[in-house]
Symmetry: C2
Subunit: 278 residues, 2 copies
């Protein structure tokens, strides 16, 4: 692991790191904020999965998480959203919603994606191992959140690994990717036309198929231009109601899909995670 | 005034605006955050002047001021740092510390700068008039702060207009530009070789020449690479001591010159302003 930068921030250290990933076959960059802490202490970890077009840098620059993480003693990890590099295929049309910046937190099984687009194993297996080795992280206390495509990733991760992730939340998640254009395009490309293979990467389908978590916090802005076409929180609400999952769904008046929305409610989410991790 | 964008953020509205400036003879872009407030209320205003290479966007993206401004009911205004446009001269060598992004908050008197580089009158006269007309601002309650070159601008503004600015603070300011390379280069170019003309744009010189404010808050990081060569807070400390100005100078261990430093201490500064403006 190579340290790209470390900067004192809010009493802790904001770092950016790079390593050669065996999952993706590429170098991968990620950021970690370690709050101030006592020597020898280990701290709970909140994972933040980013949305379409983002790298680790968007939330690191604009997420406004450090002050609250410092208050609550949370490590904050932000991975990239896809493999990158000259050898990595991208959408031939250059679309923002497939290929680079659009890994959708799955392990692709279909060409040309399968050789590098293995974001699920990267975020679920490889990077956690690195975090556990290189940072003062208590891996028995992990929570996960994310924005948009990353909200999708956080919900599916939380539903598939409820014992690992003791807290799960999302900002404007793609709640039912199998039923919306972004998800149909990406899951169809990465996983193939058989929709049965998509159900393990669709929060609503996972719940329908029996996955359970104790509670979810989800915020969505009512001025989000993707609300009705891509996010569909009502489908998550229906699935949680049918499954008796305690969903707190907050429709935030006037908020859009930007980091202004994310940063406004970041402190609420971090507190929600800290309550469950401490 | 043209609205470039308005976005709901932290309960208020973050806007970016553009207008044709008579001071600079160019279009000028600035950002304003208006916190949540009662209908008809007028709110105190904190000006934030940015540093070398910045536009309004750096602090708007990375300053992490909105949450605290929303708590305290402060309007936050961030102007640009120079005129911009095809007609505006830049440093022929393309240096970052002269010309575009480096207006130094003076009215240039020497060619080729004098035709557009009139940032002092822009920030001190023209833009306040626009803010007073277009936003729910109580112009009897203004404070000013800034970072680096903008800290220099905030200190000189506060010292020259103590009745206007009831609170003055700075992040890593160029405290004595006449005595450091950044300032000597810029003031020499914009104002000419006669150093007597520089004294009205040098916080230490202004204090030596009799300018007074009740109190100043200044933060500087001890890992700031410009601390000893360009910022020289000890010169401000000496001048304030000789003038019985109540300077709170905090040397922050481990912090550099970045927006990680600014955002870490932003809430402290905003509280310090709010105490004096409310």
């Amino acid at each position: 692991m190579e340290t790209i930068s470390t900067i004192r921030s809010h009493g802790g250290v904001q770092g950016v790191y790079c390593h050669a990933s065996s999952s993706t076959g590429t170098d991968m960059t990620f950021s970690v904020f370690v709050p101030p802490h006592a020597v020898g202490a280990v701290l709970p970890v909140v994972w933040y999965l980013s949305g379409l077009t983002c790298t680790h840098a968007n939330v690191t620059d604009k997420g406004e998480y450090r002050r609250t993480c410092a208050e609550l003693g949370l490590i904050f990890v932000a991975p990239d959203t896809s493999p990158r590099g000259d050898s990595v295929p991208d959408d031939p049309a250059g679309a923002y919603d497939l290929g680079l910046g659009a890994g959708f937190y799955v392990d692709a099984t279909h060409a040309p994606w399968a050789s590098h687009y293995r974001m699920w194993r990267y975020v679920m297996d490889e990077l956690p191992g690195l975090i556990a080795r290189a940072f003062p992280a208590d891996m028995k206390r992990q929570g996960i959140t994310g924005h948009s495509m990353g909200g999708h990733g956080a919900l599916t991760a939380g539903l598939r690994y409820p014992e690992r992730f003791r807290s799960v939340s999302a900002f404007a998640p793609i709640a039912a990717p199998s039923q919306v254009p972004w998800g149909e395009k990406a899951l169809g490309a990465y996983l193939g036309a058989d929709r049965a293979a998509w159900r393990g990467h669709d929060a609503v389908a996972l719940i329908e198929d029996g996955a359970r978590v104790p509670a979810l916090l989800v915020d969505v802005g009512d001025a989000d231009p993707f609300l009705d076409s891509q996010l569909r929180p009502e489908l998550l609400q229906d699935a949680c109601a049918a499954a008796a999952i305690d969903l707190t769904l907050r429709i935030q008046p006037g908020y859009d899909h930007s980091y202004h929305f994310v940063s406004t409610f970041m402190a609420d989410h971090l507190r929600w995670h800290a309550e469950r991790l401490q």
